[in-house]
């Protein structure tokens, strides 16, 4: 993975001192709260329900074991011994003291970690595919260009005060695993007539106005990506709305102008910058790409006999291999997903002890590196098949081997009402209740692949719109209710789910999910996943079952009764 040079490192150290100085000036009353807020946000520091919340960047999801150990230490020393991996490759701490943050940043800087632009109205951490570099379906490794984009976006002087936050996702595979259709800029790497480049998508986003992005340029040779993004950002910075925070994302500008008109403005702007100094040189690409070279894989031509035997002997191991490993482009290797979705724990949470176990596993079995996925799990990308059994045992002992990746209980969930000031409703207890209801592994495996995503409000941090089943916390007369959508999805055919009908009380949710699953099980053809059955039979059978015998206002009554 990318190793910081003297300059990269110096900038992070400069940032620590800058932030320390900002905190001092704020404490001395030289910066008002309003003046300090955007500055602390650009360092990932929110003030939330219980305490400040602090977001540490994991650029394009890559970490090494030393960095993870440092995160474990920071969580233990300055917080309550755990952290939360988010859907955008960041680690969030929920209880640090604001005045400790400069010291936390200084500790993080020792291992080249930082919180630069993890929040605020600026270019945020760039996300990508958790299997970048090892996926069997990869066309081009997106990480060198993600790193080049990271550097370009860091402290960009023209774009530090955008109308609203700005998120990039970049994908280099056949099957998009980076939700590129729902980012401010989504980039698809591809090769056309022997030339490597991008399809550039703009104006996607979830949140309260969920919109699928649109293609602003079908093909852009890779050398031009910085100047082209600069053109997009300049158009957005000048013309994006600033009168209303809910209408300030680039998606609203693209909708208002229409993508053709928007593209015209961008192309006109770009015409001035094309082939200028921002054009990426071959030398720079090669310099950065060299950091992402393949590790020293062994040549393995036969499948390990012990491994094969264990698969046959131990069903639990076989299940874990089935769900939690992913095809690798090198024979004899697999990518392993360590599940942060054990039943009964907030999705994405990880303790300091678990981080240390993962760091050890990475050192011993996966070249000392790991990745964070937007599904809030941890990936060991390069594990030998012959080591899988040991990795499984050690992961299991640490509570990291729930074999539920892609299954119903591998829920994406935001912090919700337990932590977040903006929440309409709690989300973690809903996730936990559903996990408890579907605790039987045979049943879970029988149901098969399904994405269940939960957000505590329409800001959609839990990606509910793109869950096959989406759950959204809504507020009805100060009570917490949940609206359910069906048929959303990520990937190449990404689309938004449809609302099934009136919302439900918290207590009803496990039943509602159970009924939806029953309709699927009754109707499915062999080998049909939930989403395929849904596409074939439509929303009505689900709707009918869920609302069977249920009069309007029933949720409210049920809630009263329970209270």
């Amino acid at each position: 993975m990318y190793k910081y040079d003297a300059i990269d490192r110096q900038l992070i150290l400069d940032r620590v001192e800058q932030f320390r100085d900002q905190v001092n000036r704020w404490q001395a009353g030289e910066l008002t709260d309003d003046e300090f807020r955007p500055l602390r946000l650009q360092n990932g520091l929110y003030i939330q329900r219980h305490a400040p919340m602090f977001r540490i960047a994991v650029p394009y999801g890559m970490l090494n074991s030393a960095q993870l150990r440092k995160l474990a230490h920071v969580a233990r020393q300055y917080d309550r011994g755990y952290g939360h991996f988010t859907t955008r490759h960041n680690l969030q701490l929920n209880w640090p003291k604001l005045t400790d943050v400069p010291d936390i940043l200084a500790e993080l800087a020792e291992v080249d970690l930082h919180a630069i632009q993890t929040s605020g109205n600026c270019i945020r951490n760039i996300t990508t595919d958790q299997f970048a570099g090892v996926a069997a379906d990869e066309i081009i490794d997106p990480r060198p260009l993600a790193e080049i984009l990271r550097q370009w976006s860091t402290f960009h002087p023209e774009f530090a005060f955008l109308p609203r936050k700005f998120k990039f996702a970049i994908s280099g595979t056949e099957e998009d695993r980076a939700v590129t259709w729902f980012h401010d800029i989504g980039l698809h790497l591809k090769v056309v007539d022997g030339v490597t480049g991008f399809t550039v998508i703009v104006g996607g986003g979830l949140g309260r106005t969920p919109i699928r992005g649109q293609v602003v340029r079908e093909f852009l040779p890779w050398q031009h990506i910085l100047s082209y993004c600069e053109a997009i950002l300049r158009v957005y910075n000048r013309f994006g709305r600033r009168d209303n925070a809910y209408k300030a994302r680039i998606k609203i500008l693209v909708q208002a102008l229409g993508v053709e008109e928007f593209a015209k403005l961008v192309e006109a702007e770009w015409a001035h910058a094309k082939d200028g100094p921002a054009t990426i040189t071959q030398a720079e690409y090669e310099r950065v790409a060299a950091h992402f070279g393949a590790p020293t894989y062994e040549t393995i031509s036969t499948v390990d006999a012990d491994y094969q035997a264990k698969i046959v002997e131990e069903k639990a191991f076989a299940r874990w291999v089935e769900r939690n490993t992913h095809a690798h482009k090198v024979d004899g290797y697999a990518a392993v997903t360590l599940s942060l979705k054990p039943h009964g724990v907030a999705p994405g949470d990880i303790t300091s002890e678990q981080m240390e176990v993962v760091a050890d596993l990475a050192d011993r079995y996966s070249f000392g590196e790991l990745r964070i996925s937007h599904e809030q799990n941890v990936i060991l990308a390069d594990v030998k098949l012959a080591d899988l059994y040991t990795v499984w045992q050690q992961a299991k002992a640490a509570g990291l081997a729930t074999p539920n990746i892609g299954l119903l209980t591998s829920i994406i969930c935001c912090p919700g009402g337990d932590f977040c000031d903006l929440a309409n409703a709690k989300s973690i207890p809903i996730a936990t209740a559903i996990q408890q209801r579907f605790d039987d592994l045979d049943y879970l495996f029988d149901i098969g692949e399904i994405d269940l995503n939960i957000s505590g409000c329409m800001n959609a941090c839990g990606h509910h719109h793109v869950g096959h089943i989406g759950v959204l916390g809504v507020d009805k007369n100060n009570d917490e209710f949940y609206q359910v959508t069906l048929g959303g999805r990520q990937g190449n055919d990404a689309k938004l789910g449809k609302v099934i009908g009136p919302s439900f009380s918290a207590g009803e949710m496990p039943d509602v999910v159970e009924k939806i699953i029953q309709v699927y099980l009754e109707n499915r053809h062999p080998d049909e996943r939930f989403i395929d059955t849904f596409d074939r039979i439509g929303i009505d059978p689900f709707k009918n079952r869920v609302y069977e015998g249920r009069a309007h206002g029933k949720a409210k009554a049920a809630q009263k009764e329970a209270a």
Partner: protein
């Protein structure tokens, strides 16, 4: 009064800025004598008049004013002031970048309005060379620290058009 920072020091401000009162119209407002910074609307409405009676002319741009409208007039201006009504409104950075990079404006480029310590580095990079620091803020400390929080820059901008990767030796 804002505190004008120029060339790394506090400087006296010799300019007055014409502000249009609520009922005043650009076409009819009285044009004061001396070194005056005119709002864009007044410049556009009264260009000939201003040019005939003022030697040194200043222009004030608001965040939603389009530089394209005065791109052909730049030779008239000794100073262009770009207003930041709130410091989180970042449109002025693009305005400044366009003036310097695309239209090659050579005169003084001044940041006015809600100009604070932590913006100075960004402002300098996109091409400002004078800064009306907000009243009540510590100008000495801003001059000492505000322009140089970072010892290097990755991306090109007005002050250094070449991105870092083109300046690497190794």
């Amino acid at each position: 009064m804002a505190q004008l920072i120029k060339q790394g020091a506090l400087a006296a401000d010799t300019w007055t800025t014409l502000t249009l009162a609520e009922e005043a119209r650009p076409e009819s407002v009285a044009l004061p004598a001396g070194d005056v910074i005119f709002p864009l609307a007044v410049w556009l409405a009264r260009k000939n008049e201003i040019v005939s009676c003022h030697k040194r002319i200043g222009l004030l741009l608001q965040p939603d004013d389009k530089v394209e409208e005065i791109a052909a007039d730049l030779e008239y201006f000794v100073v262009i002031a770009i207003n930041f009504p709130k410091f989180v409104d970042g449109r002025g950075y693009s305005t400044a970048a366009l003036l310097r990079q695309r239209y090659h404006y050579q005169g003084e480029l001044r940041a006015v309005g809600d100009v604070l310590h932590d913006q100075l580095f960004f402002m300098k990079r996109v091409g400002f060379d004078s800064y009306a620091l907000k009243d009540g803020k510590n100008a000495v400390y801003a001059i000492d620290q505000g322009f140089s929080p970072f010892s290097a820059t990755y991306q090109g901008s007005t002050d250094q058009p070449e991105p870092h990767f083109r300046r690497r030796t190794a």
